[in-house]
């Protein structure tokens, strides 16, 4: 890690000057305030999406229909996906970026501080539109989070609200991404060269480029649905000469890079944590950067692996199958480097490291089932079964969410000035890990046995594994309340955190006091 000349006492001041109360949060341009708001917002959305998931699991606890109507079940599966992807995971990572990137590169704030405020404040109205759509005639959209045509062209007005919500969230994401790219490229402290940047900044830089490239594609796709619905076009309407399968191509051209948008920042967080608790520099820093870039580039060439069942020429199947498998190479480089960083390190397993190590185990299981799904003939068998549900929850819950928790425990001392409770952090981890696997591991067997996803009822042969998954889901949901307790305790008090809260933590963010003063690096540090 680079050494630096920096006087943290004179490089920033703790006091906040400006409006107080609600106006402070409405008008703030401070990256730490905005980062905090992003994280609170995403946690609220995470709990909302979680309640939907638990309702789904309550219905699936036993065969037959007992808790909700089938139409409402479809709305729940759709909204659970949309809320978790666009409301919880993505904003949480943007919150981390807002808080940490300026601190990591020695910048006083984000490049466009006012736009940053606007990026955040677009989200609550979008969330109200999305969640409010449950209460309009016909209810929320039930076309699945992928909003496939022709269903999405035929749905009630809940679909229109979802389209507008996606437009607004997309604009917010694009503005956030532009802010991150410009901040990383133009706002680094003297001496902080690109290849000295913490890996979290690198992964976010590449993620931001992905966002700028694909969010407009999603916006285009849902705009075309909107015009098909209300303005007489026939992009996806077969009766008017359109093609519903074309929607799937456009959606997944967005959708697959979106998967990496949700996992690359997670890789960045884990790459910060493992060296700290292994007390060794990250193994293969440059290869990590190149692997991240390779994953991002390849993500544009694999979209049709989501569409093997639509029928395509054998050459197309082979291309998308092999291109998808190729992604395992840079991903494998990353997993190897994390393990190599731990190899012969002076390891200790405080809460952040537990979450990061757990991430490697369970994310890798999701990676392997992804490889299995990439094989075209197998994918045609497991398409739209619970095998796929199991696969992407191993990647998104055990991947993105576990990394978010790892990062939260790692940086909470910097955000609040207090160390999080180790006991509760470890309890949270072990409960989450056990219940996560009880929930999602049986879904592999259900999928292989042929249980379709997005259906509220099932054959009797699937009953045992479904009961097990539902018990696990409620355990997992309740476990997340432990995190809420950790947060409240950490904000209210606890053991004081030092500037360098973790013994072997490296980087500029650990040179400023804990909690980080309201303004930091007003005089840029010099990194040598």
């Amino acid at each position: 890690m680079a050494t630096l000349t920096h006087d943290p006492i004179h490089a920033g001041h703790a006091a906040h000057h400006g409006p107080t109360g609600l106006m402070r949060w409405l008008t703030t341009t401070n990256h730490k305030d905005i980062g905090t708001m992003y994280m609170i917002f995403s946690f609220i959305m995470f709990l909302s999406g979680g309640v939907m998931a638990l309702t789904i699991r309550a219905e699936l606890f036993q065969p037959g229909l007992q808790v909700v109507e089938p139409e409402f079940f479809n709305q729940l599966t759709t909204m659970h996906g949309l809320v978790m992807v666009f409301g919880a995971i993505m904003p949480a990572f943007v919150g981390f970026a807002n808080w940490m990137i300026p601190l990591m590169i020695g910048a006083s704030d984000m490049a466009f501080a006012r736009m940053n405020n606007w990026s955040f404040w677009l989200l609550p109205p979008a969330a109200i539109l999305l969640l409010g759509s449950f209460f309009v005639p016909g209810g929320a959209t039930a076309a699945g989070w992928t909003l496939y045509a022709p269903l999405s062209v035929q749905m009630g007005m809940g679909m229109d609200l979802a389209i507008f919500a996606i437009h607004i969230m997309g604009i917010s994401s694009i503005m956030g991404a532009i802010n991150i790219v410009v901040t990383v490229l133009n706002m680094r402290a003297p001496g902080m060269t690109m290849m000295k940047m913490p890996l979290f900044c690198w992964t976010w830089l590449i993620t931001a480029y992905l966002l700028i490239a694909v969010m407009p594609v999603l916006a285009g796709a849902v705009t075309m649905i909107l015009t098909d619905r209300h303005f007489g076009t026939s992009f996806f309407n077969a009766a008017g000469g359109g093609d519903p399968v074309m929607y799937q191509h456009i959606f997944w051209f967005f959708g697959h890079p979106e998967v990496y948008i949700m996992i690359l920042p997670a890789f960045g967080i884990v790459s910060q944590i493992i060296p700290t608790f292994a007390r060794k520099p990250l193994f293969g820093y440059a290869s990590m950067v190149y692997a991240t870039a390779s994953i991002a580039i390849l993500s544009f060439a694999v979209w049709a692996h989501h569409m093997f069942a639509t029928g395509m020429p054998a050459a197309g199947q082979l291309f998308f199958m092999y291109a998808t498998m190729l992604i395992a190479v840079p991903t494998g480089v990353k997993v190897f480097n994390w393990v190599a960083t731990m190899w012969r390190g002076a390891l200790s397993f405080e809460s952040p490291m537990l979450w990061a190590t757990g991430f490697i185990f369970v994310f890798t299981i999701g990676g392997f089932t992804g490889l299995i799904c990439a094989i075209a003939p197998i994918d045609i068998q497991v398409q739209d079964t619970y095998y796929v549900v199991a696969h992407f929850h191993y990647v998104l819950v055990a991947g993105s969410l576990f990394a978010l928790f790892a990062g939260a425990y790692f940086w909470l001392p910097k955000w609040t000035g207090h160390m999080p409770s180790e006991f509760l952090g470890k309890l949270h981890f072990w409960c989450s890990m056990v219940f996560f696997n009880i929930t999602f591991f049986p879904m592999h067997f259900l999928g292989l046995a042929g249980m379709p996803r997005r259906i509220p009822d099932y054959a009797l042969q699937f009953a045992d594994f479904n009961a097990m998954a539902s018990v696990g889901a409620f355990g997992f949901g309740l476990s997340q309340l432990i995190f809420l307790v950790v947060l409240v305790k950490c904000v209210r008090g606890g053991r004081k955190a030092e500037a360098r809260a973790w013994e072997a933590a490296e980087g500029l963010e650990w040179t400023v006091p804990s909690p980080a003063p309201h303004h930091t690096f007003e005089v840029a540090p010099v990194v040598r």
């Binding site: 991404a177 410009v182 133009n186 700028i212 594609v217 285009g220 076009t233 992009f235 359109g242």
Partner: protein, 37 residues
């Protein structure tokens, strides 16, 4: 007001990236509107 070269560079890069995003959006719609499938 004194011009700040870094601020100008930020705005330049930001506008460029915004134009790229807008370009992708328009391309996706216009490609299928103008040229069909």
């Amino acid at each position: 007001m004194k011009s700040d070269p870094r601020r100008a560079a930020n705005i330049r890069t930001g506008l460029l990236l915004g134009a790229v995003a807008l370009g992708f959006f328009l391309f996706v719609i216009l490609k299928y509107k103008v040229f069909g499938q």
